[in-house]
Subunit: 379 residues, 2 copies
């Protein structure tokens, strides 16, 4: 099958770029002697995780119970559920722990109590990581506080729980406006967990964390050298990249592996209408802090070269329609219904979450079709 034979909107995945991206990040981890645990929430795809494993990934990170179950059923045994858990997930976590070598995340004493209750009467032991905040300000304990040390002590003393280490995520790298900002976020990541690890060791050598895990795609891309003491990195987005990463300077457009193929369904003097709307691209506004007029994704004039069409902006998305403003210089001035556009999404993780399959491409050929598993929970 050829790309030109596909009905649109179709989510395309360039096989060579995907492999190059996977190879690059694996080499970065290997050269630094740290484990690579890619976050599979980006792709939710067994074939991609297999590729990551073949290039040396030690395990995976997952975000949802559904993802963790799907990958556990399909041969992935070393799984970190990288979102703090709540009480309603306990039955599912107990089931998962039978199938997989599961690590879970905690940042609050209430969650520890829930875990202890849930495991009471079982013979199961669960590995627990402490989520540490590194100035991102979403989840995680404050690494400078005594209460954070007490949380670790509580876990290490609890029956059926094993303190497995520390984990952080420098998500504030995405709001940086310069490479310096991203380097700062990378410093925050390493420092937060290493300083907390050192505090713990000083408090009690038995509390020394085994795993010290960091990572986001931007903080990995700006780091040739990973700080001593870090044992694991967990980037996710790098398999695909996207326009946000291009704007942050973390990759070039010709590194981006995931695109959406759309058809023109309306042709007007000032605009085109395409059949890729919010359900194909996602409503993610992209890196507006860097490029205020970026629109809802970038239209390629030449995907192989990584060139964007000038004077061409996706200005609005409704459910199944995309509105593409075309200026005087746009190469799409003559596009008519039936013409095809290839679009780089602002945020490939959310775009991937909207499709059932990737059309895996090599040039103009579709060489495979891979499923995306997007169930959040399994009932």
């Amino acid at each position: 099958m050829r790309v030109s034979d596909l009905m649109t909107p179709a989510t395309l995945l360039d096989y060579d770029r995907l492999k190059a991206n996977i190879r690059f990040m694996s080499a970065r981890a290997r050269d630094n002697g740290v484990s690579l645990r890619p976050h599979i929430k980006t792709h939710k795809c067994l074939e991609i995780a297999e590729l990551q494993k073949n290039f040396g990934a030690a395990g995976i990170a997952a975000s949802t119970i559904g993802e963790a179950q799907h990958f556990a059923r399909n041969g992935f045994k070393d799984i970190t559920l990288a979102v703090p858990i709540a009480q309603d997930k306990m039955p599912a976590i107990k089931q998962l722990a039978v199938r997989a070598d599961l690590k879970i995340l905690v940042d609050h004493p209430t969650s520890v109590s829930h875990l202890v209750s849930a495991l009471k009467g079982t013979k199961m032991e669960l590995d627990v990581l402490i989520k540490v905040d590194c100035a991102y300000g979403r989840s995680g304990v404050d690494p400078s506080k005594r209460s954070s040390i007490r949380l670790v002590e509580r876990i290490s003393k609890a029956r059926r729980l094993r303190f497995a280490g520390l984990l952080t995520h420098g998500g504030h790298s995405y709001s940086a406006t310069s490479e310096e900002g991203i380097i700062k976020a990378a410093d925050d990541e390493s420092q937060a967990v290493l300083q907390f690890a050192s505090l713990l060791r000083k408090e009690n050598p038995n509390l020394a964390p085994e795993t010290i895990s960091i990572g986001s795609t931007p903080t990995m891309m700006v780091r040739d050298v990973i700080a001593d003491g870090i044992t694991e990195v967990r980037p996710g987005n790098y398999v695909f990249f996207d326009y946000t990463q291009v704007a942050l300077g973390m990759c070039r457009a010709y590194n981006c592996a995931l695109t959406v193929l759309a058809s023109v369904i309306g042709s007007f003097k000032d605009r085109l209408v395409v059949d890729a709307g919010a359900t194909a691209l996602s409503m993610d506004e992209g890196p507006t802090h860097i490029h205020p007029d970026c629109g809802y994704g970038k239209v390629f004039s030449d995907y192989e070269e990584g060139a964007f069409a000038k004077s061409t902006t996706i200005t609005a998305l409704s459910q199944e329609h995309g509105k593409v403003a075309i200026g005087r210089d746009s190469p799409l001035k003559k596009a008519k219904p039936g013409s095809r556009l290839r679009i780089l999404p602002n945020h490939s993780c959310l775009t991937a979450n909207l499709t059932d399959e990737y059309y895996v491409t090599s040039g103009a050929e579709v060489i495979d079709i891979w499923n995306v598993y997007r169930r959040r929970i399994v009932t």
Copy 2:
């Protein structure tokens, strides 16, 4: 099963509110003597479409090939594919037309040529509606132009095509900031198609449109009396409503049928973190033109009463995390991991597109589970 037994994030659907909303819109259409063709892109659910039919819906409007195929296979025969078509959809449209009484949309002569080529050599006849722009500025022909009349003539002369009528959508009702603005959009809808219909009749009585179709949820809600000559209305969102409709004044919070149940997974002084992120709520920014600080959905303090929690704003979504700022007055100050929040999404159509099933509720009970069909195309 009870709502409290569900794993989160869970998409809840209040059965009584759903039925009341369906009943209201059916009565509005019936009282005006027009056909109701609900847009099923909002819910993508057979059970909901059955309810709409039981209350008098004459047919359905669909947005994607996948939706149209799914509903055609399941007993819905009168289907308007309410998005202009492009060449790649022709084989699928021919297949669909065998199963269903299909009407398709055109707004460009190139699409007519594609249709004619696709049907050449078949014995099939296709009903074609002209999409008319009513000042929304997305798709559709300009009803005041000669070229629009020529497009109708072209269809009516083409072998295997039948000119079935006119269709418009006052989508600009959503960007209105007052009821007057929505009434203006409703006027635009009716006037655009009625004036074009009158032009066509004057040009040639044989071009008189049979179907004259309008509709959006806001333009239907502000219209007790539908203009003479309109034959059909196509609202979609009204089955659920959402926070955008509340902000526009089209409904009250206690009319909203679709909500997302989330668990607290992080508890901090200034914020909660919940397990409903971009994949549960969608990144739709909501009615920021009316309420700039609305956040990514509204947290209920009491769903039955339709009361929102004060000083509580969903300020950011990442893939599986939602960040909820809690001010001093927030009733959620004491929420801990495991606490539950019920969230009204900004845009229920996009929220629905992110789930596999609705948990149908009556008070605290889950009385049924209904599937959502969210494939865009079928390969």
